[in-house]
Amino acid sequence: MGKFFAIVLTVITLVSASIFAMHIWWMPVDISVHGPALDKQFGETLMGTGFGFLVAQLSLAYFLWKFADKGDGRKVREFPGGPKVTIITAVVLVGLEILALSFVGQKAWASVNLDPAPPNAMHIDVQAEQFAFYFRYAGPDGQFGAVHPEKISDGNGNYFGLDPENDIPARDDIVVGSLTIPVNQPILLTIHSKDVGHSFYVRELRIQQDFVPGIVIPVHFTATQTGKFEIVCTQLCGLGHYNMKAYLEVLPQDQFDQWLKAQAGQ
């Protein structure tokens, strides 16, 4: 039984690890400036935990193979070196791993969440609601109109609760259902929710950030490749959660300018 257990455990361990190693299912190619640091940290964590996984499971398998009770009255033996060895191994190996990851990780986290957006970042306002995202560009005046929750109405398409009659900056605000941005241009999103919690997740941008009702949260990034990508909701927000999505379109600067002009003209 011990040998059988050892074989099963070895097979499970090797198959599980190989599928990771072969990248059969993997993160999509990163298109953000901050992403490579996160991917590198992911790789380092995978190496560390992969090593731990293989050593732990395969040692367990080996011991199961070797130390079955054969009824021969063999004496039980202590692990050489006793608990000191296991404690020191855990403290040193895991401790070093933690130190390494914490220092690298802080830098990566800081570049996303602690550093402010560059001053030249293009500001786009984002509102989430059950079950859609809406994006607002400031228009030619560069200013956003104020949000009036009592004026929000999906029925007449006033998703942000704007009051263009009384509020001049609101008059040229551009509201659209997908996010179009220029490549290599820092972007600042201010995200807020109309109703319940939602989340903004773009795999290729390595960004996930909750929309929290009552709070406006800044998110900044720079996309380095053009293309069309999916924005999906990752915070349970109700029955249509699975179907809440929008597209992110990253365009060359000139195409983006044309697109924005066309939107403003509408």
């Binding site: 011990g2 993997w26 999509p28 404690i87 109703d195 929290v212 709070i215 990752t234």
Partner: protein, 592 residues
Amino acid sequence: MHDTSDQAAVHHHAPPKGFLWTHVFSLDHKVIGKQYYFLSLAAVVIGMVLSWIMRFHLAWAAAAIPGLQHLSQVGAPGGIITPEYYLSLLTLHGTLMVFFVLTTAPQAGFGNYFLPIQIGAEDMAFPRLNMLSFWVTFVGFVTLVSTLFISDGPPISGWTAYAPLSALGNDAGPGLGRGQILWVISIGIFCIGSLLGALNFIATTLDLRCKGMTLARMPYTVWAWFITAVLGLLAFAVLLPACVLLVLDHVGGTSFFIPGGLVLSDKLQPHSGGSTLLWQHMFWFFGHPEVYIAIIPGIGITSHILASTARKPLLGGSRVLVGCMVAIAFLSFTVWGHHMFISGMNPFSSLLFSVPTLIITIPASIISLNWIATVFGARLRFHTPGLFAIGFISVFVTGGLSGFFLAQPSLDIYLHATYFVVGHFHMVMGVAAIFGMFAGTYFWFPKMFGRMMNETMGKIHFWVTFIGVYCIFMPMHYIGLAGNVRRYSAFVDDYLIPLIPVHKFITIAAFVTGAAQLLFLFNLFWSMYRGKKAEENPWDSTTLEWTIPSPPPFDNFGGRHPIVYHDPYELGVEGAKGDYVMQDSPEKLAQS
């Protein structure tokens, strides 16, 4: 060290008469332990069936499940699940499993039955409180399950019930009115039952130990139940007021968790001033220790059974194990924010929460390495409880390692709310804890029911389950890496559609593994009546539960006051009769 006198062991209530007082409103900790166990069994069966329905739907979203329309005409018209009904089932699955299975069976079930016996006591410190805590928990269970049968259906806000989705009532979605209120009441009631139970466990452990049962001589399990009780006392004491506030937001017109300016169905909500993050903080202040409430009893049970399986005490003994469990318990109250890295809380606090989250892996790694090193040089007896104990080590290590990724805020950005998280917590909290329960069931069944469980069925159950759980939960890590979002009732996004074949594989694995659980259920009930008669000590173990008849008499020790002379795991002892010395044996050991 606290040694109780002989008087402390005097039984403080007489054997009851009549079915009602013997089996229903019993004060006997053994009956209450079994009641908790069977309550969990009922919960796990419902929870598992719900997971089958969900798994089937995820793999074949358009296919009908015959007969499901009878459960809910609205939720599953023609047997095809609606998106909202999927979320209802998901909420019920998570809530049943976390509260009524993982928190109930390992601690309140086995703990109630065996803690008093293992410390040489005749009952818990407060038998009436004990009965009350079970029946309170039972009412919580009935309240929760009742949501399946109300017109609203169960809430769709998940087991974490994030506000304001959970606070705004039916305007936010189906099931979020009456269904959600019943859910909150059920969890509040559950908190009360758990708090009462925790008090009882702590008082019993500290006060009712028999002569010679010093703290250092307490079995690993007793330590685990004791530490878990302390955790429960602190954690449920925070969840309970959170539940009260959430009910008030529904029925009292308050706005604890609802900020102003929210608009639902073009209607400005009449709330202002609340904080949605407040709910998350209160919930996870409970929620993270809860993970350890679920797993520490399993750690204790596995260690207890591993010693008997390996014929030697754990490497490092009680001192290292207990030290690590205490460290884990303490740290568990400092890490709750790692569930909230991307919640919009101050990003500086994410860094702070990340550090203790990573540090907690050190005591967990020490325990794991000590288990593996205990297997070295052992004389392993591969009976079913031993197999599940060893299986526990493997899945605990696997599930724990993926925690390394999620503990780092910068990696959580990508992995948060993906199936990577689902795979992680199912492996470490669900599967490992359930393996602990299986190990405990096979190990203690003979003591509880006086008969042995069938070993052949047990072994088939183990092998299918062990291979099965890896087939179910490892692929979840892979698709999580591909960005597969959790809590989706169907996969309609362009990048998710190619992952559906993996979901089909997982679903098939879940059905095969599920079939093995049916075999376990059959074995359990069949063995209760047809199993081979059990001896007093079928596993050659050393702790006090194996010094008394199977099943034990009403007062546990038959009027005898046990005296403990030895450490709990004198196994692999040379020169002893067999290879072990019972804890209460006056026999002197040769000093080695």
